[in-house]
Symmetry: C2
Subunit: 230 residues, 2 copies
Amino acid sequence: MTGRAADSIVHTITARIHSGALAHGDLLPAERDLMAEFEVSRTVAREAVRILSSQGLIKAKPRHRPVIRKAGFGAAFDAAGSIVDNLLQQPGGVHNLFDTRIMLEAALVREAALSAGKKDIVNLKTALAANGAAIDDNDQFYQTDQQFHAVLYDIPGNPAYPAIHRAYTTWLAPQWGQMPRLADRNRINFASHTAIMDAILLRDPDAAEAALRSHLADAWDQVRLTFGDI
Amino acid sequence: MTGRAADSIVHTITARIHSGALAHGDLLPAERDLMAEFEVSRTVAREAVRILSSQGLIKAKPRHRPVIRKAGFGAAFDAAGSIVDNLLQQPGGVHNLFDTRIMLEAALVREAALSAGKKDIVNLKTALAANGAAIDDNDQFYQTDQQFHAVLYDIPGNPAYPAIHRAYTTWLAPQWGQMPRLADRNRINFASHTAIMDAILLRDPDAAEAALRSHLADAWDQVRLTFGDI
DNA sequence: AAGCATTTTTGGTACGACCAAATAATGATC
DNA sequence: GATCATTATTTGGTCGTACCAAAAATGCTT
């Protein structure tokens, strides 16, 4: 019983989630039940709930019973979310994050060029077509743009990548969301997507990477045009 | 005044940290001072401290005044740490994580081959030499092995990458730490490092990536040999 | 059976109190 | 006067009770 009493409760609940006694979607016992079960004050019970929540193991909305949330890669990024938000407000923060995105997506398109399956190609083509059809609808274009990139993150079949994509889009949304949207820019972006797609179809990783880097570098230029140096 | 009262305190403190009024290393006001300043109960003041702590903005040790900790990429991964630990105990969790490491390091060595500066080359050579000199000292080899990889994460000059490297080594330590260490294996790994280094010196990204992938695939085989399919 | 009003549950907050560890202040000793 | 041991204060950790408001469960009326 070193340190905080809440930690032992957290430990027990965590073990319960691991063992499956508490499954995804189950409700955590109410605070008053926890204090009875663990023989602690409500202060400690609340603290335990708060910790579990900050760790992403449960989802606690005000005045609602906390819900068990099975650990996934997405939950991991959620846990990091608030601190990343702070990070992004520091000088260079957004650029550093976007830089990692460029690097990762460059690797993803190489992977796609080398080993995309028939299903992946179909998904890419579908996403690209939807993107092209939405050039005159800014909101729709924004959606399908993200969807096209999302397909790239799906190709490796590793659940970590889609979670990373969601994290990127969430964290960078404040910038993207405020950027002016114009049909002309949509056309340019669609052309970039098409170039990436073509390179993948040609199974040319170098060309795919080059097209992707050009695309994202261009996107970054737009961010700087809108926000200045950040 | 929607939702939790603690959030507004968190918001104020966060703003204070951003503005520099509270700098890295400063001590947060005591809980009893916070409740006076914000005119709330100690319950709420404590909750605010806990939230700030879970967000990594402060470091709170039991019975010590909380210390301001400027948010860094490292803190973001710390926040995600406990979830990732859970995640890794699920089937395929370790593999999925290691897979992202392979992808990222492959991208890093390509980057290194294309644009490593003189300083970077020196750092790589130094790390490689230290690694080679430690072949017969398993602990030392483990250290220098990590250090060699760390240099790769330093090359882009983006603070996110070193943080990612620390996260990988921390999260995967349970596996790596339990793996048998033999001089023969050290020799193989050192040879792999040398091959990567050579490819970088030749400015050959494809060869560098191939060498890196071979190296990490081999490392994964060792993990599976030790732990079975995980 | 459907709609509505009432009771119970549940999280959010407040106040007051005590403990133990850590720190600051004090005084004794050399 | 500097150093060390002792006391006083600060500070976080825990407990208990109480009240509120929103949400959920319940019961009642039609």
